[in-house]
């Protein structure tokens, strides 16, 4: 009884995905059959078209990879030292700066896409990788700092003290003692930043173009141009989402931990 009720709810979340997989294996004629056929001969043509056809999504996959990987790398390099200082060191005006970082995270993206369009237009950086990556830092960096702080706070204090008594320099302490301790936290942060950058749409659709067209925009354009080729859309979308689904399933434990890191022990935090 319990299990069947829960399973029914489960189905609500799996079904659209299973359905997309089924549709992606049908011919366009088969797709339009109503009521839908559950028994049909599966074909791979839609996937071939999505990868090698006229509207191949491969260039977009490359673009998304470049943008997401660069954003993730820059974010981590900037966020980890900052989070360490916020969590463990005496920092002048720490409260104000911490609040500032948190506040930047809450800015609605539409409030940024408008000025960025005008600014990037003026400096001719619309539809460029550097423009897109800078914009992506606006949501990834505050989030990464905030997430890393909660991991930094969990390191036992004695670790650093021991290192300081050995007269190791502060930078060496950070590099040799702290960073190995928060490797798990860094992994979680990398996953989240990558997922968010890969899935981003609002900035991509307005600040990108023919050179920088991430998969999310390619999917959207596909529907606008090819109104009814839904089997091809399903195939292309499933390919585009394959990386994040794989990461999601493989790193399921880390993601849940990242989602709940603030919530579960939330009571005691500022």
């Amino acid at each position: 009884m319990l299990v069947s009720a829960a399973s029914l709810l489960l189905l609500v979340w799996v079904f659209p995905l299973l359905w997309a997989i089924l549709v992606s294996l049908k011919s366009e004629n088969e797709v339009l059959a109503y009521p839908p056929n559950l028994i049909f001969e599966p074909i791979a043509q839609n996937y071939k078209d999505a990868l090698f056809g006229d509207f191949s999504i491969v260039p977009s996959l490359v673009t998304s990879t470049i943008v997401a990987v660069s954003t993730t790398f820059l974010t981590i390099v900037l966020a980890v030292p900052a989070a360490y200082a916020f969590a463990r060191l005496r920092l002048p005006a720490k409260k104000t700066l911490g609040f500032y970082t948190l506040a930047t995270q809450m800015v609605p993206p539409v409030g940024l896409v408008i000025p960025y369009f005008l600014i990037l237009n003026r400096v001719n950086w619309l539809d460029t990788y550097q423009g897109m990556i800078i914009v992506y830092l606006t949501f990834s960096l505050p989030f990464a700092i905030w997430l890393m702080v909660s991991y930094m706070e969990d390191i036992p204090l004695e670790m650093e003290e021991a290192a300081l008594l050995d007269k190791a320099s502060r930078l060496q302490t950070l590099w040799h003692i702290i960073i190995p301790q928060v490797r798990g936290g860094i992994a979680v942060t990398v996953i989240f930043v990558f997922l968010n950058a890969w899935n981003e749409f609002l900035f991509a659709v307005q600040l990108g173009g023919n050179t920088v067209r991430p998969v999310t925009v390619a999917m959207y354009n596909f529907v606008s141009v090819e109104q009814t080729l839904w089997a091809k859309l399903a195939a292309a979308a499933l390919i585009a989402m394959l990386p994040v689904v794989i990461i999601g399933i493989a790193a399921q434990k880390q993601i849940v931990k990242g989602l709940t890191v603030g919530a579960v022990k939330g009571g005691g935090r500022r």
Binding site: V23, P92, P142
Partner: protein, 303 residues
């Protein structure tokens, strides 16, 4: 919070200098990439910037804000933003909580639920919007349409009529993000101390009483965090609605976020679009301020 050096002044100032050095790059980047564009946004909200009629461009004073005050489409979008946020966040919390309580009772196989719950969360909202627009809701094709007719109900033009379209975009958002609430609540439930429950069982408290007087208060921090995080995301929701309805039919699903976007990038009226975005920014700040105050007030009284 924690600090290493005790009374040594030299060590202290060294530590401070080091801390400034570590945070400076991030803060500088945030200043340049977030604060500067926001200042630019506020500036442009006091300008007439219309790419369709550039000869009119210039300082506008409060004109954009005055126009906003008299703009029924603006107030309509505010109302929709409220309906969208309140209904989807409360459904996420209630359904997520119910599902978490249910799954907690299942002795084996909880991992299947965790895996399934991850899937909607990692999907791009724009893809979710497209899937629902085509595979789920399209007339004479979508699965929902098929089920509705199979059950003997009238066919509904889900995305083509105002009220069903609003219900649809709320349902899509709720579908994608309820697993988030579910996973947070599941983890919180698993971390609750078991001894209070045993004490309650000895006191012969029934399941409902145990939930109301023990579980719910213990989960309050998690609930408040989920509400804060989801409300922020909901206020700024864009891609799924944009992909599913584009704000339509007419303005039936045009929340403030979409209105600001369309005014800027479709009507090319960047001055007015900026003013709309500024108002969304202010609303977001007020809502988050209220929610955070709620959180600290309750946390102080609760524990």
């Amino acid at each position: 919070m924690a600090s290493l050096a005790g009374g040594n002044g030299d060590l202290n100032s060294g530590e401070k200098r080091f801390a400034v050095l570590l945070t400076a790059p991030s803060l500088l980047v945030l200043l340049l990439t977030t604060t500067f564009p926001l200042a630019y946004l506020v500036w442009s909200s006091f300008q007439t910037i219309n790419l369709a009629m550039p000869f009119l461009d210039g300082f506008a004073g409060f004109d954009n804000y005055i126009e906003m005050w008299d703009d029924s489409r603006y107030w309509h979008s505010i109302g929709l933003t409220g309906i969208y946020t309140v209904s989807s966040v409360s459904m996420q919390v209630v359904i997520g909580m119910g599902l978490a309580l249910l799954v907690m009772q299942i002795p084996q196989g909880q991992w299947i639920f965790r895996i399934v719950a991850i899937l909607p969360i990692v999907l791009a909202p724009v893809v979710v919007g497209l899937f629902w627009r085509t595979l789920m809701l399209a007339p004479n094709f979508g699965m929902i349409d098929f089920i509705i007719q199979w059950l003997g109900f009238e066919q509904v033009n889900w995305l083509g009529a105002p009220v069903p379209a609003l219900i649809s975009v709320i349902a899509i958002h709720t579908w994608q993000w309820t697993p988030f609430a579910f996973l947070v609540f599941l983890a919180s439930l698993a971390s609750l101390p078991t001894d209070v429950y045993e004490a309650a069982r000895i006191d012969k408290a029934n399941a409902l009483q145990r939930f109301w007087y023990i579980t719910l208060p213990l989960l309050r921090p998690a609930i408040v965090i989920v509400v804060i995080m989801r409300a922020m995301i909901s206020l700024a929701a864009f891609a799924a609605i944009f992909a599913a309805t584009g704000g339509g039919p007419g303005t039936a699903t045009e929340i403030l976020n979409l209105y600001a976007f369309k005014t800027s990038f479709i009507e090319l009226n960047f001055g007015y679009g900026s003013a709309l975005a500024v108002s969304l920014l202010v609303i977001t700040m007020v809502v988050s301020g209220v929610l955070f105050r709620l959180r600290t007030a309750r946390g102080a009284g609760g524990n």
